[in-house]
């Protein structure tokens, strides 16, 4: 563990408070019948796909191209997640299938 117990508790408290605020903010701002500004509504619609795409790139930032072990597990398992999801459309199957494949690849095949 890189953090002390106190630091870890502080981090978790920050996550809890910020998460609650993102959920409570619309109620705090717009619960009196005011209409939310159009720009807020617009960003609320177009931001989520952009942010998820951003997080996918963030998750894959560790990919290297020096050897197949640096990129093949992520790309194969990532491809499997997308393919499984397009095929069956079942969240669990896609997430678990891809994660198990990735674990097999990094521990066994490319380990």
């Amino acid at each position: 563990m890189t953090l002390t117990t106190g630091q870890a508790i502080a981090s978790i408290a920050v996550m809890a408070v910020v998460t609650f605020l993102t959920r409570a903010l619309p109620f705090l701002l717009f619960d009196r019948g005011d209409h939310p500004p159009k720009l807020v509504l617009y960003l609320g619609q177009v931001l989520p796909p952009a942010i998820i795409a951003m997080l996918i790139v963030y998750c894959l930032k560790g990919i290297t191209f020096a050897s197949p072990a640096g990129w093949a597990p992520s790309l194969l398992a990532g491809g499997a997640a997308v393919a499984l999801h397009l095929w069956k459309g079942n969240d669990l199957l896609s997430i678990f299938g891809a994660t198990v494949l990735y674990m097999v690849l990094v521990q066994g095949v490319f380990g």
Binding site: S11, I12, P26, A77, A81, F96
Partner: protein, 238 residues
Amino acid sequence: MDRKTLAAAFPVTVPVLMGYLAIGMAFGLMLQSAGYGVVWAFFMSLTIYAGSGQYLGVSLLATGASLPQVAFLTLMINFRHLVYGLSMLEKFRGMGARKLYMMFSLTDETYALLSSARPPEGVEEHDFYFCVALLDHSYWILGSVIGSLAGAALGFDTTGVDFAMTALFLVIAVGQWKAAGSHLPALLGAAATLASLMLVGAEDMLLPALGIIVLVLTLMRPRLEEHRTGKTKQEAGT
């Protein structure tokens, strides 16, 4: 809350039961492999209660991220919740003290259930919503505790289990891609983040990426608003 309400709410929540047990277990395993045991899993799931947020939380704890970084990343990943609240303003009106809990527990899945499910005849609407929210939360806590205990007891090699986070985001992205009127926001998000990764490196890539995304989306508003389907479509994912 009486048995009748519980009996009405439980069947509605079964898909979430399956999902939360599984995704919660993966979270418990990840947290365990990062060196944080079952007590941590329990309290994180009790107090934060966000799937992708907690997945990200594991890597934030493991890498020793600073508090401002933690706050910023949590804000980013949960930004979509702002939209959920907007469509629940009417539904939660008049729920009194329970409304605080309804706001706290408004995850993607609970949002999806509350958007579609209606209480059967003879069951009070607000009791029903509250019961659905409470059941979902308890599944999530249960899943993470089971995952954490399993990780500790089985002691198998959990290397690579953190890929569950990547897979979760990919699954959400596929759903958003299919529902979206325009693919430009998703493509922009990927392109801006890649550019940021090249320019400033992996450590500080997210803030510049987000800046570019918000700026470009704001500038493109006249064009993108023509594409809008008119209703907010959010895919499941935590």
